[in-house]
């Protein structure tokens, strides 16, 4: 059975300037363990789609099932890595991760186990050296790592990431992408990631969901990426299949879904 299923999902926002039809007729199903990217021009509704799956907002109509159950609100089995990390500035790196660990494992793990689990997850993203630093004292890439550790530490069945590397420089981004690939390879969790970076999408994903432009955006095309794992970015640079996929996404984004202002 599909792990995540969206059927005929519509999202209409009631705003001060009237109703805004953001998403239209979204149909999507994701297998367990799959890594799926959502790509599209900015403002098309990618974050909205992710927020729907996270349960932070509810759809205007349509059905959303996760593990066979209707999504009626947020839940710890769907952890989110936010676009701007959203670490709490008054807590240390350790405390930020521990907050989620205590919530999810408060009943099943004792104090020492929760402490070890927190440290383990921070080690997973190579942040064990900064446990007692506050978010203002670490770099943007480190904050994003901690955000990922916070989400992973909840052992979510479904990991949601909203442009997790958008604000980072190319080198930091590459190293975090590698970390995410490695972690996904090890934990085999289901991942839904929003991105606007074509290379990132092709490198990381099993499937790429390409969205049309808003308003009333929907899924335009779905691309299967059948590249063997583990993937190495340097080797893939000359790989014919990789470049073929890359070209397909580029074509979709820049020929079929040009930004309205560019098309004019």
């Amino acid at each position: 059975m599909k792990y995540l299923q969206l059927e005929k999902v519509e999202m209409i926002f009631d705003t001060k300037r009237g109703r805004f039809h953001a998403l239209r007729d979204i149909n999507l199903s994701v297998e367990q363990g799959e890594f799926v990217s959502i790509i599209g021009h900015s403002g098309c509704g990618k974050s909205t789609l992710l927020n729907l799956v996270a349960g932070l907002i509810l759809p205007s109509s349509g059905a959303m099932l996760c593990a066979g159950r209707e999504i009626a609100g947020p839940g710890p089995e769907r952890a989110m890595v936010f676009q701007n990390h959203s670490l709490l500035p008054w807590l240390t790196v350790y405390e930020n991760v521990r907050l989620g660990v205590d919530k999810v494992f408060g009943a099943t793990k004792n104090k020492q186990q929760r402490d070890e689990w927190t440290r383990e997850n921070l080690a997973l993203v190579h942040m064990e050296h900064a446990l007692n630093k506050r978010p203002t004292e670490i770099s943007g890439g480190m904050k994003q790592r901690v955000g990922i550790a916070r989400a992973l530490a909840m052992e979510p069945k479904l990991l949601l990431m909203d442009e997790p590397f958008g604000a980072l420089d190319a080198l930091t981004r590459a190293s975090l992408q590698d970390s995410v690939m490695e972690i996904h390879g090890r934990l085999k969790n289901t991942v839904l990631m929003v991105t606007h970076d074509v290379d990132e999408a092709v490198l990381l994903s099993d499937r790429i969901i390409m969205m049309t432009n808003g308003p009333a955006a929907t899924i335009g095309e779905i691309l299967d990426i059948k590249l063997p794992r583990p993937r190495k970015r340097v080797e893939l640079a000359d790989d014919a299949a990789y470049n073929h996929h890359r070209a397909a996404v580029l074509k979709f984004l820049y020929q079929r879904q040009r930004r309205p202002e560019e098309a004019a």
């Binding site: 996270a54 349960g55 932070l56 609100g73 947020p74 839940g75 710890p76 769907r78 952890a79 989110m80 936010f82 701007n84 959203s86 709490l88 500035p89 008054w90 807590l91 907050l99 989620g100 919530k103 999810v104 506050r134 203002t136 909840m154």
Partner: protein, 298 residues
């Protein structure tokens, strides 16, 4: 305009302080070669001119003006006379000479005690109330009309109610402090709660935190800077109001002392009281500013 300018000169060294601390950490020692002596002197000189000269000049002019006015007026003592009187007054601040005649120290302490009581209760009640109003729209709707109606009422208008209810002057004075300092605390806290970034609340929702955890881990730390601003404003109001309230209620306290010395026609003491009230108000404000900086995480 001049007050604003003075405030700027007062504020600027504080604001640059944390920045310069960070800068010291970042700059490697190799680069931190001391500048040539001449330019360092020039820098210090410029600093003195920019930071020190304007307030000192202002104070000197103020004292001169005061001296000039007191020369021309009958009852108003000049700076020198007032100074001598103050030296005498503060040489024995804690004498007790009957209920109405006690040392300046006692008067200050009693006023502070009343403010502490009234203001402390205002904080104790106002902060939780502010959180509830900010967090629950229903509660906000319920309290909004009452607050907007009562907030603009002049503090002293509450005194008769206090006298009526408590049948005594002392709790009535505390009551006036309480009711006049609670509004900024409530309102700033409530506004702070609505200003908590949605991102943080989303974190709380994804983590599925309990209402108590949301309060201790997210709301309280996020709102604290706003609350402290409210507390600072509330304390300012309390200290403003205490003098007037004590004039009406009597008892040992700086306000009553002013009234008492007016009846004795000891104007020098009244001027001293004005300075004392001003200086203590300034100290209280600086204390709270210090606290606020400690809890600012941005």
């Amino acid at each position: 305009m001049t007050v604003l300018a003075m405030k700027k000169t007062l504020d600027s060294p504080q604001q640059t302080e944390p920045k310069s601390e960070k800068a010291v950490v970042i700059i490697p020692p190799v680069i931190a070669v001391p500048p040539p002596a001449a330019s360092r002197f020039a820098d210090t000189g410029r600093w003195v001119v920019r930071i020190l000269v304007p307030p000192v000049l202002g104070l000197v002019l103020f004292v001169l003006l005061w001296a000039l006015i007191s020369k021309g007026s009958e009852g108003l003592p000049g700076p020198h006379e007032t100074w001598l009187s103050a030296v005498e007054l503060f040489s024995d601040p804690f004498y007790v000479n009957g209920p109405n005649d006690q040392g300046i120290g006692w008067n200050i302490l009693h006023s502070l005690e009343r403010v502490g009581l009234g203001f402390g209760m205002a904080a104790l009640i106002g902060i939780p109330l502010g959180f509830m109003i900010g967090r629950f729209a229903f509660f906000n709707g319920m309290t909004a009309p009452i607050i907007s109606l009562l907030r603009p009422v002049s503090p002293l208008a509450w005194l008769p109610i206090g006298l009526l209810v408590f049948k005594e002057a002392q709790p009535a004075a505390v009551w006036v402090i309480f009711i006049s300092s609670i509004w900024p605390i409530i309102i700033n806290t409530a506004v702070g709660v609505t200003k908590v970034p949605q991102d943080y609340m989303n974190v709380a929702r994804v983590l599925n935190l309990s209402e108590w955890k949301i309060f201790t881990k997210i709301l309280f730390p996020a709102v604290l800077p706003y609350t402290l601003t409210g507390v600072r404003l509330g304390l300012g109001v309390a200290w403003l109001v205490i003098v007037a309230a004590e004039m009406l209620t009597g008892g040992v306290g700086i306000g009553f002392w002013v009234w008492y010395e007016w009846n004795n026609l000891n104007v020098a003491h009244i001027i001293i009281a004005i300075f004392v009230v001003g200086i203590i108000g300034l100290l209280l404000e600086q204390l709270l500013l210090l606290m606020a900086r400690r809890f600012n995480y941005e």
